[in-house]
Symmetry: C2
Subunit: 339 residues, 2 copies
């Protein structure tokens, strides 16, 4: 038989208010009474009903992580998983729960869940953010945090990696290993992340007044096949070996590039060093393993969750933050004999 706060109260010969106090602000209750109540709670294995509690308190404890999941999403973007993990970790520590919401460009569900008080706040993957959703959030003061918007102008709160810095680090590294004649194989032109990283690369060389003779930017889709094709195609019109490094916007492209270089009989890293961004798990599985500017998506998720909790408590704060420094992980694809 399910116990309620009333049963406990009756059993202890106190009022329900006292039991409630023991639950919520135990030190307002005399120690002796408190202990009696606590014992009864233990004895009857009483757990207060969360729905009733939230209703009475006028608050909730559920956050939604809004994103889309393509069938092979786990492979295309393992980051979402890590982000999710980070979010979950922090939320749990703060007594919040994480709900998963998939949106297909329709924000009805989001509105409903917010308005019917099921969800107290939203963490939104930038790729799932429409302008309609942005407008709704702003107009209705919806507690939110967007993951990944750094170069868009917006009044929303967000956290993101410092992709510009990622680019700079990649360039700095190539400079250090003296392989500055690069090919940059980028994702789609309009991709924010890509634009920033590319800018980081260019700015580094500019500011250093480096005389980079040969460099080339090539756009391609972020897949193994397209990475492969792009390089093979380039090799038809250019002498690949006049470059001595390739920066791949992403791990998939890099896998394709390694394969193409193999077929073109170009030695990695001797002839050409290959480096990439994002350290997907399979970056270490390639032949040779990939040097990569790695970002910590787990951290990103944790940060987002923390800020969202802040924002729920203080809806008017604005958050726009870059988090955690990227880290360059050197592996064989760029590891040269040098003293």
């Amino acid at each position: 038989m399910e116990k309620t706060i009333r049963d406990i109260a009756k059993y202890c010969k106190v009022s329900t208010a006292t039991v409630s106090r023991v639950l919520n602000s135990p030190f307002e209750v005399k120690e002796e009474t408190r202990n009696r109540v606590l014992e009864a709670i233990k004895k009857f294995n009483f757990v207060p009903n969360n729905k009733a509690r939230n209703l009475a308190k006028g608050k909730g404890n559920i956050i939604a992580y809004v994103t889309s999941f393509e069938p092979d999403g786990a492979f295309k973007n393992p980051h979402k998983f890590e982000i999710m993990s980070g979010i979950q970790k922090v939320l749990e520590a703060h007594g919040y729960l994480m709900l998963l919401l998939q949106v297909n460009n329709n924000i009805k569900m989001i509105k409903l869940l917010f308005e019917n008080k099921t969800i107290s706040g939203f963490i939104i993957h930038a790729s799932s953010l429409t302008s309609e959703l942005e407008k709704y959030i702003l107009q209705n003061n919806v507690p939110h945090l967007v993951i990944g918007m750094s170069n868009k102008k917006t009044d929303l709160s967000w956290v993101d990696n410092n992709n510009y810095l990622c680019g700079k680090m990649a360039a700095e590294y190539l400079h250090k290993i003296k392989h500055e004649n690069f090919i940059y194989l980028g994702g789609e032109e309009e991709d924010n992340t890509n634009i920033l990283r590319r800018k980081g690369v260019l700015d580094y060389f500019d500011k250093k007044f480096l005389d980079v003779k040969n460099y080339k930017f090539v756009n391609t889709h972020a897949t193994i096949q397209d990475g492969y094709k792009s390089l093979i195609k380039l090799a038809k019109t250019e002498d690949i070996k006049k470059f001595n490094s390739i920066i791949c916007a992403n791990n998939h492209i890099a896998v394709g590039v390694l394969r193409a270089l193999n077929d073109l009989n170009v030695k990695v890293p001797k002839d050409i060093a290959v480096i990439t961004f994002d350290d997907y798990p399979f970056a270490t599985y390639t032949k040779p393993p990939l040097t990569s500017v790695s970002i910590n998506m787990y951290q990103l998720g944790m940060t987002a969750a923390r800020f969202l909790i802040d924002k729920i408590n203080e809806p008017n704060i604005e958050i726009r933050t870059y988090i955690t420094l990227p880290r360059l992980i050197e592996r064989e694809s760029s590891l040269l004999e040098r003293k």
Copy 2:
């Protein structure tokens, strides 16, 4: 200003009961009244408070998907993502929401969320199921559904792929392409899935009274590196070419195997056909692309969700089901010239 059912009632000059009826069983209300109420609801953009609703009804609409997420989990087991997607899809269609729960061998959170009425049911990934959790579920009649338990003796409800059939299909296929002298590179010995698939392979050959001269079972870890090493090691004591096919328990192993065969100068599929189970996205990215007995994890998730909803409505039904037939997808790693 937040509207409640009372505001709507007052505005329409009806009782709150009537408004509630319009919300819950509209056809018990006279059309004219109903329309008046509906209009007011629209006018004030009224959305009933779900917490109050659930409290009054004594039910909830949140389901938890219980699993663990390793940092590179998305890569190691992309299936969890697909399962999750399938679950979410069905739940949403039935008005349920999906909460994500990570467990680290501690079931406290699960107990709490069940007992405090936050969660109405659990879908549990078999790998996260401890005997303690199993016991708790059974003793407390917790609505649940386990994904993937097919060969364990248990009183829990579960759905799973027919892994035995997967094994049979693999064997049947090798028979068909006349490459019956197989090496079976399996995951850990104790892995349920693996045991069943292996049994499927053996039974097929047994029942067909096929005279398979050379075959060999090798245990290895489900990683690229271990797949590679196992085969290289085997090649030191055996003439690999007396086998004409390799069955890999999983895509990671298969990638390692392809790499090893390449280094051993064995041609795939001419000398040895390679097939594997589970069609991870990168199965098509290997060289050559992998033939695979594919299972539909999205479907598995959908089925689990459907059954869980049944179980919530009828806690005493028991569910033990194999779902969707595996499908053999033939790719170059086993594609022989034949008429």
